[in-house]
Amino acid sequence: MSLNRRGFLGLTGLTVVTLAGCGTPTGPAAAPRTGGRLRAAFAGGGAKEVLDPHLANLFVEAARSKAMFDKLADLGNDVSPQPRLAEKWEPNADLTRWRITLRQAKFHDGRPVRAQDVLASYARILDPNRAFRAKSSLALIDLPNSRAVDDRTVEFALKRPFSEFPNALAAFGAYIVPEGAEDFAKPVGSGAFSFVSFEPGRSVLLKRNPDYWEGAPLLDELEFVIANEESARTNALLGGQVEYAHDLTPTTARSHASGDRMAIHRSPNSAVQAFAMKLDRPPFDNRDLREALFLLADRPQLVESVLAGSGQVGNDLFGKDYQHYAGDIPQRQRDLDKAKFLIRKAGAEGLVVKLDTSTAAAGMVEAATVFADQAKGSGLTIEVVQGNKDSYWADTLKNGSLSSFRSGAMPIETHIAQRLLKGAGTNVTKWNRPEFDALYEKAVSTSDQGAREAAYREMQQVLHAEGGYLMWGFADWIVGAKPNVGGISTAPANTLDWARFDKVWLG
């Protein structure tokens, strides 16, 4: 026994020495260097995969679009808009006209990026006969009254005053393409990498754009390969077939965090995890019952079990640490006694509530099951119902009263506009308050910074107190890479620096 133990300890010592010995020269601490091809594995969608950046929908499409194209603005680490192709933006006094100065940038075919290209790109997205994702964000642009002042200046006319117009410029899929571009078999953009080849469902090869306006990328080549199964992405990384594996599970991260074959990169605050209660129908039209649910959730336990610890607890508010986030509202804790009291007060004792969920997003079914367990003994019974994953989001927008919810990063203003206003397209909680809509209107139509922050705070206060979203946690976005890959950012998923490869190098 003691012999074995000594032998084991000796072996461990040896391993540590070996690791320390070979870790240094190839480690990510090495200075950035140029050259090489990085292969990045993403989940794909076969038939759905396209290179048209305006049609981008999947993560792999977003990452590829970002490598080949630019938007006027994109989201920074705090999910606030940062200038990209736009060098600067200046609104007029009533926030209805925005003058945008373009950077001196070139498309891959050598043509300069001009104001006409910007207007043509937006006109394509806003085409009434088409359904591009960025359309709703850009819909407030009054295109006929917008104009190119000169080659590098665009003046946008808006249909209403809007202080957060740069958010629209950073909208998902609002990329600038050359005027008249319709065929994206060989896409031409202004991005850090230019197109080489595409095999749908298999791979896309890109090469360094030496003339990129922000400086040429460090990598010579960037190849996106498709592996739909998370285990396959992990195995390909471990087997040296790729250097970067996107979207790994917390379980994989946990088992490889201490190993030397894979470096784990976590992007905090990337995906909010929630349950959505509908306010326009029983039983959650009752404010007490909504509060009871808020108090039933044991958030640390949900984060520990469902996210395997790769996340942070939520406070029923979207966008933790993002611009305008009301971080001073006290964190809600589980309070079973108060929840029981509120359930009795609402006359809901013995009630069975169906919680709709599906595998449309990782961890949703697990979270629903854990939450149903946490509600035991409260007087309210939560029954988990698993639905079809492919139509889940459309189904739960209309049906049921309680459902699993998850969302990637977006500005808090966008979250409110898309989900919490009267007539918002994806108002899953059916939150409908004229006084709330008025606060939003005030926030986006004033140029007074103080008044705007006060309005955002007030909106979040009322949502925290009696809203329909029980936002229990924020999942880290997990990426695995070879230990010699440097320059991987941990910005939230969907922001500029996430899945961005022009700053990445191979050590």
């Binding site: 292969r39 594995a41 794909g44 969608g45 076969g46 038939a47 759905k48 995969e49 396209v50 929908n57 006969n129 088409r130 359904a131 994702r133 359309k135 709703s136 095999e199 749908p200 469902g201 298999r202 791979s203 190849e223 390969v225 498709i226 592996a227 739909n228 199964e229 285990s231 396959a232 992405r233 195995n235 390909a236 471990l238 087997g239 040296g240 077939q241 790729v242 449309a360 997003a361 639905g387 079809n388 994953k389 492919d390 139509s391 989001w393 459309a394 189904d395 927008l397 998850r406 969302s407 898309q418 397209g425 994806t426």
Partner: protein
Amino acid sequence: MSLASYTARRIALGLVQVLAVVTLVFLLVQALPGDAAVALAGDNPDPARIAQIRAAMGLDRPAPERFVEWLVGLPRLDFGVSLVSGRPVADFLSGGIGPTLVLAALTLVLLVPISVLVGVLAALREGSLLDRALTSISVALHSIPEFALAVVLIAVFGVQLAWLPPTAVGADLFAQPAVLVLPLVVLLARPICSISRLVRAGMVDALASDYVRHARRLGIGETRVRFAHALPNALAPAVQQVARTTDWLLGGVIVVEAVFVIPGLGTVLVDAVAARDLPVIQGLAVVFAVTTVAVNLLADLVAFRLAPRAEVVA
């Protein structure tokens, strides 16, 4: 009835079967919750946007009308256009059929000789240590599902020992044949067992049959008796099983494709169903139905040549 008119009748029947399969698949996809517009809208299911996508895809026209339009193109081998990407369905089929054919062909090339050899060896040494060893290994291998075997092989030979590439991600199957080794082992494991068992049983029966005893009494050499007289009869039941295996392989073995990242027909099918991309699903249904009909017809003809029976010709 001659062999030619028998074949013609089977082909006519096959066409009816293909049509029935395609119609059934169309109805089944219609019965799934959500359509291509809902699937594409995903977590941004704004009803106004879904309606726009639906109009852009032409999904606002009645389903039977779209189906008939698609059927009319079929005789010209026009499979239509993918709803989601706008690319021709034929591109999806030709893209997926390559990897699936490579895997199926290599599997069959290895499968038939190995399983016949194993079956014959076991039958000739019936009851011996070799027979019992082969039987035990076959039964054990046959009881492991593909995904379990795949996961173990990848963990051991792909990741731990690093002898073979763990997946075929981004690889050209011809340029890097090493990526095919593990998938082939997984695909071969169960069919080798089932087919060698059938060959063994057929061979044992044949060797004990009257005509073999008669051939031996006539003084025909033992080798000739075994391989020219007993073996062809022993193979007839195995041919049907090879046909079923071929059909299974040509359908794209989804589990193997997913685990090893081989973008074959199975992957195309999974993606198309998730996207509710009806023209692509229908195109695949045609391919699968045609291969099933063709492979089974071929198997019946081969079985007939190996062991002519009165009822086929009658």
